[in-house]
């Protein structure tokens, strides 16, 4: 039996306003070659101007991934010729990356597994290329966009762990607001390094590197395919060759690109145009303070407050929703009630109407006041469901809706007592029945009272007062 040894290189484009070493816009744009400057295009004489926000975000992510963070900014040059790289070298971090020796925990079958992060470094993205039969097209919009590369230890043994890791990583990236992390826009790209070994082997097998995989699902399929491919080669007595491969989505397989990946010598050396800048403790702790409580901790907290495991997971999937939930809690709502409203009603509404939590009319304050209206007996929980929808549809606050629609519950004891007595007086035959011992006819009276109040009487008060009055007769 063979087992897989898998390591990842994850590339993530940062969501800064401008590019890493120029003031060109950093934005995803369908029109090619619009976000450009002489710096991006490497005209003779240009010099790099490091983007402070890019540096902050890379360090923030390194910290969120529990990495050791250096106290200097240092960049290196990686030299190679390719049309997508105008300078002929890429500014990256080789000697002093922003993160080293970090980790990220994942949960597999209820057990926590700690995945090692070897390093995290900041570099600039290259242009995107489109190859046609006898020509290639270049789009430099992406060229110079800040890119973080996260290199894991070879710590994964199957596709489930990898996908779980990637999902957790994406969640952290979003919680720390360093990237939109959209696979569709190529903002998150994964290289998979995979080799197979026998349980009895003492060292790793020969690995293949599958580059530039765009979706987590393709990552999963790539691993499944490679495990099978390499296992077949090995069990037939063959040798896996060390090579770079790529995943072909349409055909559901990986194909070889080039052999001996380690043969490329990038001739790294320190970037001479960016002087060493030291990072003060103050600067670093300021960044650390900006890291919010992450999804994992939030989930544990919600469960401890009585939210179900499933709902807690749903709530923390997006930081915006989780933040919304926490705001409702802060106002004093019960966690379980707030969670129910959000996970069943609010998320449903958002899905159906294709809206984000920031786009819906219902603010955390409104949701809290809605919950409060029910708890204080002003409206019934059935009414609350209607109010909920009306708030979203009519874009008015819950209290306005309740007032306008005359939905306020009658909780005045005297008023209810009057109605109760009136109903008893008007239904003598049923009163007799009750007195004869058939006490379950009380339900009839409750219904009549509620009807007489236009559905506004507080049901629990109705039944209490009805019991008192009917027994006086």
């Amino acid at each position: 039996m063979y087992k897989a040894v898998i390591g990842l290189e994850v590339h993530c484009e940062l969501n800064t306003n401008s590019k890493m070493f120029s003031s060109s816009k950093n934005e995803y744009n369908n029109n090619p070659n619009v976000n450009l400057s002489v710096i991006d295009l490497a005209f003779p004489g240009i010099l790099p101007l490091p983007n402070k926000e890019g540096i902050r975000k890379a360090i923030k992510l390194a910290m969120a991934l529990n990495c050791e963070v250096p106290n200097v900014v240092k960049f290196d040059r990686k030299n190679y010729y390719y049309p997508d790289l105008p300078k002929g070298y890429q500014i990256t971090q080789m000697t002093n990356p922003f993160g080293r020796n970090g980790y990220l925990d994942i949960e597999i079958d209820g057990k926590v597994k700690r995945c090692g992060i070897h390093q995290l470094h900041l570099e600039e993205d290259t242009a995107s290329m489109e190859h046609h039969l006898d020509y290639s097209l270049l789009d430099y919009n992406r060229c110079g966009v800040p890119l973080v590369e996260i290199v894991t230890e070879p710590c994964f043994s199957d596709e489930e762990e990898v996908v779980q890791f990637l999902e957790n990583l994406r969640s952290i990236i979003k919680y720390t607001d360093v990237s939109e992390a959209s696979s569709d826009k190529g903002q998150l790209r994964v290289d998979v390094n995979i080799s197979m070994m026998k349980d009895t082997d003492t060292h790793f097998g020969v690995r293949a590197e599958i580059k530039n995989i765009n979706s987590f699902n393709s990552v999963k399929e790539t691993i499944l395919y490679e495990k099978k491919r390499q296992e077949e080669i090995l069990s037939n007595g063959g040798v896996v060759i060390q090579e770079t491969r790529r995943w072909v989505d349409d055909e559901g397989k990986t194909v070889g690109m080039r052999e001996k990946v380690d043969a490329v010598d990038y001739k790294y050396y320190v970037e001479p145009n960016i002087p060493l800048v030291s990072l003060s403790d103050e600067f670093l702790s300021e960044i650390r303070r900006e890291i919010p409580v992450l999804h994992y901790e939030r989930r544990l907290k919600y469960v401890s407050l009585g939210v179900s495991e499933k709902d807690a997971k749903t709530l923390v999937k997006s930081k915006d929703i989780s933040d919304y939930f926490e705001k409702v809690l802060e106002l004093g709502a019960d966690a379980k009630e707030a969670s129910n409203w959000i996970t069943t009603r609010l998320l449903g509404y958002m899905n159906n109407n294709d809206k984000s939590i920031n786009e819906v009319y219902m603010t955390p304050d409104m949701l809290y006041s809605l919950i409060d209206l029910v708890n204080s007996g002003k409206i019934s929980s059935q009414q609350a469901k209607d109010v909920f929808l009306l708030v979203l549809e009519e874009e008015k606050s819950p209290s306005d809706i309740v007032r306008e629609k005359g939905m306020e519950q009658i909780s005045d004891e005297g008023k209810i007592r009057d109605i109760v007595n009136k109903v008893i007086d008007e239904n003598q035959p049923q009163l007799e029945t009750y007195k004869s011992g058939k006490t379950n006819i009380i339900g009839f009276f409750v219904g009549q009272v509620l009807k007489a109040s236009g559905g506004k009487a507080n049901p629990s008060m109705v039944s209490k007062i009805l019991n008192e009055e009917i027994n006086k007769r």
Binding site: V38, L41, P44, G45, P50, Y82, P83, G88, Y89
Partner: protein, 473 residues
């Protein structure tokens, strides 16, 4: 014109002056060949500026928007930049009027003035001799009196050596004093912007205009807020200088001994003004390393810095069947043999298996020399040496790198110390040998530009060699 900046400022009709200057430039081309481009339109962008209407020339490796900038290389023979170098921008803002872009050794690599793509530049003192390089045309345009000042660049000695060979003042300020933004890079950690003029005062006036912190060059220093032109006449009697015994003693030929004699005479005159000049011994082994260190570091940085010259985005592009072939053909045809040789060496010293032994050791040795110098600067205000062991040589067929004798290694290469440490360093004429000028170079501690110019001014006063002009009929 033969006029100083202050004299030119008194002239009323600057446009007429400009026309005379460009006529003279054009007339000189067939004998001296110092220009790649001669301007045809008088353009003064600030009538009130410090240099309003003052004509000047600019080395052809400074980016000038809308004006051909070739780096004297075939690969950029048609390149018209779309942005201004900071130096050019500052001169425009001060009202200086560009008359032409000067011929240099191809991409600033070389010390002869013979390797520009538009042909060899001639030394006005004797047309059979080289002007020195790489800022050859700049030195010649000032030496012949065509312009009062010119801007060059100095990576090893490329301003100071030609200044010495052509009998003018050449100044390389502290690294970071003047922005390199828009200067075609040769070796970023050694590249300096420099100034040519016929007297120290003009050098100071121009340096005052072009210096200063630049947001486009991270390596620039914060402003020192000293107007250099105003402090030239400060008393120098307490100043303490040294010269290096081993370098002076390496003179072996008749000519170099004559140079040393002139040098000693100059020192005696300086002493009579109260300046202390002492002999200091310096580790000869380290001095012998100057040239190899320079060659390794500069070739390594230059191969990377010039990797943008592929013909894809700008410059002359050759055809080919693939992007790689286009790049290969463009570079093969575009660069001269000397350039390719340097790139090959640069690439070799950066290779994984050589980097430690060659490139990194060269950087360590560079630091050792700088540390020793800084140690000496604790006691001394600067050091003086003959700029070269002789007058401008006749056209030399063999590349100087093949010469490894003592006199060459020491007497011809000590200017590199100024680039290694980023020290302010100025060359000025000290006398005539065989009817040609020879220079003296003063080098001061980092950031002491004001003091360097102050002492240089007093050297100028003792030599009396101010405003030398060599007109060619």
């Amino acid at each position: 014109m033969n006029k100083s900046i202050e004299e030119i400022k008194l002239i009323d009709n600057k446009e007429e002056l400009f026309n005379q200057v460009i006529d003279e430039c054009k007339r000189s081309q067939s004998t001296l060949n110092s220009f790649v481009t001669i301007m045809d339109k008088y353009e003064c962008f600030n009538k009130e500026g410090v240099l309003s209407g003052v004509p000047y020339s600019l080395k052809d490796n400074f980016s000038t928007s809308g004006i051909l900038t070739t780096g004297s290389s075939n690969i950029l023979r048609d390149y018209v930049p779309v942005f201004d170098s900071t130096v050019y921008k500052k001169l425009k803002e001060a009202g200086a009027v560009l008359v032409g872009k000067t011929v240099m050794d191809e991409l600033a690599m070389g010390g002869s003035g013979l390797t520009g793509h538009t042909g060899a530049v001639k030394n006005p003192w004797n047309l059979e001799h080289i002007p020195g390089g790489s800022s050859a045309g700049s030195a010649v345009s000032v030496a012949t009196g065509m312009v009062p000042f010119s801007i060059g660049s100095d990576t090893g000695d490329s301003v100071r050596k030609p200044a010495s060979f052509c009998g003018v003042v050449g100044y390389k300020p502290t690294y970071g004093r003047v922005s390199r933004f828009g200067l075609f890079p040769f070796a970023s950690s050694l590249d300096h912007v420099g100034v040519f003029a016929r007297n120290v005062k003009d050098v100071a006036i121009v340096t005052d205009v072009i210096k200063g912190r630049d947001d486009f060059d991270m390596t620039t220093l914060s402003n020192d807020n000293i107007k250099y032109a105003d402090v030239l006449d400060k008393d120098v009697s307490a100043k303490k200088l040294f010269y290096i015994k081993e370098i002076v003693e390496s003179a072996k030929t008749e000519e170099s001994k004559e140079v040393i004699r002139v040098f000693n005479e100059t020192l005696d005159k300086l002493r009579s003004k109260g300046v202390v000049v002492q002999e200091v011994s310096f580790d000869k082994k380290l001095l012998e390393c100057l040239y190899p260190i320079y060659f390794i570091i500069s070739c390594a940085e230059s191969t990377s810095n010039n990797s943008n010259l592929t013909g894809f985005i700008f410059g002359s592009r050759e055809s080919g069947n693939s992007p790689e072939e286009v790049m290969f053909n463009t570079r093969s045809k575009g660069f001269g043999e000397m350039i390719k040789r340097r790139f090959v060496i640069g690439s070799y010293v950066l290779e994984r298996e050589n980097q430690e032994k060659l490139f990194l050791n060269a950087k360590r040795a560079r630091r050792m020399i700088v540390e020793k110098m800084n140690e000496l600067f604790k006691e001394y205000d600067g050091f003086v040496l003959p700029t070269s062991g002789g007058v401008a040589p006749k056209t030399i067929p063999n590349h100087e790198a093949d010469r490894l004798d003592d006199e060459y290694l020491l007497l011809e290469n000590h200017l590199l110390i100024g680039n290694f440490g980023g020290y302010p360093s100025i060359t000025l004429p000290m006398g005539m040998v065989n009817d040609m000028p020879v220079g003296i170079t003063l080098t001061c501690p980092q950031k002491e530009d004001a003091m360097c110019l102050n002492i240089a001014n007093s050297i100028e006063s003792v030599t009396g060699l101010k405003d030398l002009v060599c007109e060619v009929k």
